[in-house]
C-alpha cells in the first residue's frame, strides 16, 4: 500500500501533467520536496525538544535556588540558633543567630566539633544521650567562650535525615538574660533573708540588752523584799515595782517569741518531764493571785493522764501560764478551772486535751474569730485596762500549731470563756518519776557551799552574790574567763555560775578551757550557764561547751536556788 502522501501527489500530478516526462519530473520534485520537509520537520522538532529541555533544566535550577534561598531566609530569620551537624558531630552549617550567639563566623565553625563548644560533654553520643535523658523538650548547656565566659543556652536536638545523609539539627537559645533575671531574684531573696536575719539578730540582741538591766531591777526588788525592816507602804511600793518589772519582762518575752515565730526560727525541745508537776506548779504559782481575787482555782487531773511525757516543758509552761493568767486576769468572781484529760492514746504517743474555763467577762461573738490574730485583744480597751501586748494568744496558737496541736475557744459574754487545746506528746518510758525532793522553803540555805560566779556586769554580780550570800554560800567573783581560770587554781569550788556573754573570753570558751584542765575534778564540777538570751540555741551551745544547766536572767531566786541545789545533789 502506498503512503497517503504519495497517493495524493500522484493524483494531483496526473491531473496537471500532460506528458509522461512532465509527470515524472513533477513526481520526483514532489517526492524530493516531501523528503526535505520531513527532514526539516525532524530537525525542527529535535531543536524544540533540546531548547525545551534546557529551559526546563534552567527552571528547575532556578526553582531549587529559589526554594533554597527561601529556606535559608527562614532559617536565618529565626531568633534561635540553628546548627546542623553530621553524625560525628562536625558542624555542617549554622544560621545567623547561631553565629551571633557563639560569636563566630560560619566559616570558622564549619567542620569543627559542635560538642567541643560545650563545657560538659566529651562527645556527641554523650550529649545526645543527655538530651534524651532530660525530661524537658530543651535542656540547659553552657557554651564556652573566650576568657572563661560561659553562655547559658537551652538546646534541643532532632535527627534530620535527608536522602543523602543523616544529620542532626541543634536549636540553641541564648538564655543569658533569663538567667540574669533569675539570679537577680535569687539575690533579692537572699537580701530579704539577710534583712530578716538582721532583724531577728537585732531583736535577740535587744532582748538581751533589755534583760540585763531588767535583771538588775527585778533582782534588786527581790532583795528589797527580803529586807525585814520595810514599812507596809514601802512593801507595797516594792511589790508594785516587782510586779511592773515582771510584767515588762513578759512583754519583752512576748515580742521576742513573736518575732521568732514570724521568722520561723523557733525550735522545740524534746525532753522527758513530769507533766503533772508542771501543771500543778502553775496552779500553785497562781493560787496566791486567785486567793487574792477570791476566785476558786481548781485543777482536774484525769485518772488516765500519763505522769511523764516527752516534749517541750518550757513551751507548755508558757502556754498554760498565758491561758491561766488570762483567765484570772479577766475573771473577777467565780472560778477558773484547769482540766487535763487524754484525748487519744496512740501507743507511743498521747494526745492531751487541756481546757481552761473561767466565769469571767467573756468575749463578744464578733470578736471571737479575731482573738488569735496578731495585735488584737477582744477590745482595744482591754489592752489598756488589762495590759499585755495583745500577742499572748497569737503566740499560744502558733506555739501549739508548730507542735501539731490546736486551740479553740467558746465564750459567752458575761458568762465566761473556755479555751481548749490539744497537744501531742511522746510517752516517756518510765511513768514513775523520781520526783525532786520537795524543796523545804522554810529557810533556804546552801551553807558550806563554795561557789564561783563568773560575771562581767557589776550590777548582776551584786544581785547574784546577795542572793547567794543570803543562802549562806561562800561566793568568789571573777570578772572574766581568765580570772575564773586563775581563781580555780587556788580554790576548790563546788559549783560555777557562768555568764555567757562576756568580753574577751565568753562563757563557752571559758567552760571548754575549764573542762580541758588536767585534774579530774574539773571535768565533774557543775557549771550552770547564766544568760540574758532566751534563745534555745544558746542552751544547746552551752551544753556542747560542757555546761550542766542553764538559767535565763533575770532569774527567779527560787529557780536559781533549785538549780544550784539540784546540780550539787547530782554531783
Amino acid at each position: 500500500m502506498r503512503h497517503s502522501i504519495l497517493e495524493r501527489q500522484l493524483k494531483k500530478i496526473q491531473r496537471r501533467s500532460e506528458t509522461p516526462e512532465e509527470f515524472q519530473e513533477q513526481l520526483l520534485a514532489a517526492v524530493s520536496d516531501s523528503y526535505t520537509n520531513f527532514e526539516n520537520d525532524l530537525v525542527f522538532r529535535d531543536r524544540s525538544i533540546k531548547l525545551m529541555s534546557e529551559e526546563m533544566l534552567d527552571l528547575n535550577k532556578r526553582n531549587q535556588e529559589k526554594s533554597e534561598a527561601y529556606l535559608s531566609a527562614i532559617v536565618n530569620s529565626v531568633v534561635d540558633g540553628v546548627i546542623s551537624i553530621n553524625t560525628s558531630g562536625k558542624i555542617l552549617g549554622v544560621n545567623k543567630s547561631a553565629q551571633k550567639i557563639i560569636r563566630k563566623e560560619e566559616k570558622e565553625l564549619k567542620g569543627t566539633c559542635f560538642v567541643s563548644l560545650l563545657s560538659e560533654f566529651e562527645d556527641l553520643p554523650q550529649f545526645i544521650n543527655a538530651f534524651k535523658g532530660s525530661e524537658e523538650a530543651q535542656f540547659l548547656v553552657y557554651i564556652n567562650m573566650e576568657e572563661g565566659e560561659r553562655i547559658p543556652c537551652e538546646v534541643s536536638v532532632s535527627p534530620f535525615n535527608t536522602e543523602d545523609n543523616q544529620t542532626y539539627i541543634v536549636i540553641i537559645r541564648d538564655i543569658t538574660l533569663r538567667k540574669k533575671a533569675e539570679q537577680e531574684l535569687i539575690d533579692a531573696k537572699e537580701k530579704a533573708e539577710e534583712a530578716s536575719m538582721a532583724k531577728a539578730q537585732f531583736l535577740s540582741t535587744m532582748s538581751h540588752e533589755i534583760r540585763t538591766p531588767m535583771n538588775a531591777v527585778i533582782g534588786m526588788t527581790n532583795l528589797l523584799l527580803l529586807e525585814d525592816n520595810l514599812t507596809e507602804d514601802q512593801k507595797t511600793y516594792v511589790s508594785t515595782l516587782k510586779f511592773s518589772g515582771e510584767h515588762l519582762l513578759t512583754l519583752i518575752n512576748d515580742i521576742l517569741d513573736f518575732s521568732k515565730i514570724e521568722s520561723g526560727k523557733i525550735d522545740f525541745e524534746e525532753e522527758e518531764f513530769d507533766l503533772f508537776e508542771l501543771v500543778n506548779s502553775i496552779k500553785q504559782a497562781y493560787q496566791y493571785k486567785a486567793d487574792e481575787k477570791e476566785i476558786f482555782l481548781k485543777l482536774n487531773w484525769d485518772k488516765n493522764m500519763p505522769r511523764c511525757v516527752i516534749g517541750d516543758p518550757g513551751r507548755l509552761n508558757q502556754i498554760l501560764v498565758n491561758l491561766v493568767g488570762n483567765s484570772l486576769k479577766f475573771t473577777d468572781k467565780g472560778s477558773v478551772k484547769i482540766d487535763a484529760s487524754v484525748k487519744e492514746d496512740r501507743g507511743n504517743h498521747v494526745d492531751i486535751t487541756f481546757s481552761i474555763s473561767d466565769t469571767g467577762i467573756g468575749i463578744p461573738p464578733d470578736k471571737l474569730d479575731m482573738i488569735f490574730e496578731s495585735f488584737s485583744q477582744s477590745e482595744s480597751y482591754t489592752t489598756r485596762k488589762h495590759g499585755g501586748t495583745g500577742l499572748g494568744l497569737t503566740i499560744t496558737k502558733q506555739l501549739l500549731e508548730l507542735q501539731k496541736g490546736s486551740i479553740t475557744v467558746t465564750s459567752e459574754e458575761g458568762v465566761g470563756s473556755v479555751f481548749t487545746f490539744h497537744l501531742p506528746f511522746k510517752k516517756a518510758e518510765s511513768q514513775t518519776r523520781t520526783i525532786a525532793e520537795p524543796f523545804t522553803a522554810t529557810r533556804k540555805s546552801l551553807k558550806g557551799t563554795s561557789l564561783l560566779l563568773v560575771e562581767d556586769n557589776k550590777v548582776n554580780q551584786y544581785v547574784a552574790s546577795r542572793f547567794l550570800s543570803n543562802w549562806e554560800c561562800d561566793v568568789q567573783i571573777a570578772d572574766d574567763g581568765d580570772s575564773a581560770l586563775e581563781l580555780l587554781k587556788s580554790h576548790n569550788f563546788d559549783l560555777i555560775l557562768m555568764d555567757i556573754q562576756m568580753p574577751v573570753k565568753n562563757g563557752y570558751q571559758t567552760t571548754v578551757e575549764i573542762r580541758a584542765l588536767p585534774e579530774e575534778k574539773y571535768q565533774r564540777i557543775p557549771i550552770i550557764a547564766l544568760t540574758a538570751s532566751a534563745v534555745l540555741e544558746v542552751k544547746d551551745e552551752a551544753m556542747r561547751a560542757g555546761m550542766n544547766d542553764f538559767i535565763t536572767k533575770p532569774f527567779n531566786p527560787n529557780d536559781l536556788f533549785e538549780r544550784i541545789s539540784k546540780n550539787l545533789r547530782l554531783n
Binding site: S4, I5, R8, S34, F44, R45, R47, L51, M52, E55
Partner: protein, 380 residues
C-alpha cells in the same frame, strides 16, 4: 435544502463537479486576498445570483470538498426550502472597537425566530474575543454563533470581507438563519499539545503580548523558531500559545499570532492575552492534527440532525497554523472530515486567522485558534 459548489477559473465561476443550477438565497465565497480583491469576483457572482445574500472573505487557503487550494477562490450557493435569512455588516478601524462593533451587529440583526448566526470578520484589525462578546451580548443565549476570521495566506498583510458588495478590508459581516427547520451542528478541536514550562504573562495589553516571565515574548519565539524566525509572523503559528488564569487547573484556550512588532518586541494575537495569565507554548504533529479534525467532525455529526430533505453543507474553517504544520498532508484533515459525513454532505471552507464556535457543552461562544471548526447546516 440544495447546494451548488463553484470554483473560480480565472475569469468566471464554474460548477465544481456535477452540480445543478439552483436559485439560492445565500452564496458564500472564500478566496485568496489577491483573487477576491478583484471586483469581478463579486460582480460575476451577483450576475449569476441576483437575489441571493452574498457573503465572502479572504483566506489562507480554500477548501472545497476534499481539496485544499492555494491562491484560488471557491463558493457555495445554498437554496433553503423553509429557512429565512438576514444579514448585517459593520466596518472596523482598530481592534479596540471590536466589542462595540460586535454589539452593533447583534443589535442590527433581527431576533424573531433567530436560530443561528454565521460571522465572517476581518482577520487583522479585530480582537476576535471582544467581537464575539459584543455580538453575544445582544443575542438570546440559545442562538448558535459560528464563523471565522478572514486570512491572508501566510502574509498577515490584508484581509477582506464581502457582504453584498465587493470584498473590502476592515469589515465584519453576519448572516442570521431563521425558522424551525434549520439545524446547525458544530464542533471545534485543535490537536495541539502544550510543552515546556509555565510562563507568566508579565506584560500585555488587550491582545498585544509584550513579556513572558519578564522577558520579551518575541525573543522567546525567535529562540524556538531558529532559522524560521525569518518567516515571522507566520512561522509563529508553529508554536501557538495556550493561556489560562493562574489559579485555574483547566485546559486553557489557544491563541494564534497575527502580527509581530520588532520595535517593541511585541506580538499581536487573535484574542486577549490578559496579564497574570499562565502561558505555555504548544506544538503538534501530523497525526495529532488529523485526529483532531476527525474528532471535530465526529462531534458535529453526533449532534442530532435531520437528513430527510436532501443535502447538508459542512463549512470547514481551519487554522492557518495547521496548514503550516501539515504542509503536503493538509488535505488529509479535509479528507478525514469528509469520511465522517455522508455522501449528501457538501464541504466548503477556508484556512483562517481564527475560528468562532459555540461550545457544545456550555453554548458559550468562543474564539478558537489552531482548530478545525465545523459548522454543519441542515434543513429538515
Amino acid at each position: 435544502m440544495q447546494t451548488t459548489q463553484l470554483i473560480w477559473k480565472g475569469n468566471s465561476w464554474e460548477n465544481y463537479g456535477a452540480n445543478e443550477n439552483i436559485d439560492p438565497q445565500l452564496v458564500l465565497f472564500f478566496g485568496a486576498t489577491k483573487v477576491i480583491a478583484q471586483p469581478k469576483i463579486y460582480a460575476t457572482l451577483r450576475e449569476k445570483f441576483p437575489t441571493a445574500q452574498i457573503l465572502g472573505c479572504s483566506t489562507a487557503g480554500e477548501i472545497i470538498e476534499d481539496e485544499v487550494l492555494d491562491g484560488n477562490a471557491v463558493a457555495t450557493a445554498i437554496r433553503f426550502d423553509k429557512t429565512t435569512l438576514d444579514v448585517a455588516y459593520e466596518f472596523i478601524d482598530s481592534s479596540d472597537q471590536s466589542y462595540d462593533v460586535g454589539e452593533k451587529l447583534g443589535k442590527a440583526i433581527s431576533k424573531e425566530g433567530l436560530k443561528s448566526v454565521f460571522v465572517l470578520s476581518d482577520g487583522l484589525a479585530v480582537n476576535g474575543s471582544d467581537l464575539i462578546k459584543g455580538i453575544s451580548s445582544q443575542l438570546p443565549k440559545e442562538v448558535i454563533i459560528s464563523g471565522g476570521l478572514s486570512g491572508d495566506g501566510a502574509d498577515f498583510g490584508r484581509t477582506l470581507v464581502a457582504c453584498n458588495d465587493y470584498a473590502l478590508p476592515g469589515q465584519v459581516a453576519v448572516v442570521g438563519f431563521y425558522g424551525d427547520h434549520i439545524h446547525i451542528g458544530r464542533g471545534s478541536i485543535g490537536g495541539w499539545d502544550p510543552f515546556g514550562p509555565d510562563r507568566v504573562v508579565t506584560k500585555s495589553k488587550s491582545n498585544v503580548l509584550y513579556e513572558l516571565d519578564g522577558k520579551p515574548a518575541l525573543d522567546l519565539y525567535k529562540k524556538y523558531l531558529g532559522e524560521k524566525a525569518e518567516e515571522l509572523p507566520s512561522s509563529a503559528l508553529l508554536f501557538p500559545l495556550m493561556i489560562r488564569p493562574a489559579d485555574s487547573q483547566e485546559e486553557g484556550i489557544v491563541r494564534t499570532i497575527l502580527a509581530v512588532n520588532e520595535g517593541d518586541k511585541s506580538m499581536t494575537f487573535a484574542g486577549d492575552i490578559p496579564e497574570g495569565y499562565m502561558a505555555k507554548l504548544m506544538m503538534s504533529n501530523f497525526d495529532r492534527l488529523i485526529d483532531g479534525a476527525n474528532e471535530a467532525a465526529s462531534i458535529t455529526e453526533s449532534q442530532n440532525r435531520h437528513k430527510e430533505n436532501g443535502e447538508s453543507l459542512a463549512i470547514l474553517i481551519s487554522c492557518v497554523g495547521r496548514k503550516l504544520v501539515l504542509g503536503h498532508r493538509i488535505e488529509e484533515e479535509v479528507e478525514t472530515v469528509q469520511s465522517v459525513f455522508d455522501k449528501n454532505t457538501k464541504q466548503i471552507g477556508f484556512y483562517s486567522y481564527g475560528e468562532i464556535s459555540s461550545n457544545v457543552k456550555t453554548d458559550q461562544c468562543e474564539l478558537h485558534n489552531q482548530t478545525m471548526t465545523i459548522t454543519l447546516i441542515t434543513e429538515k
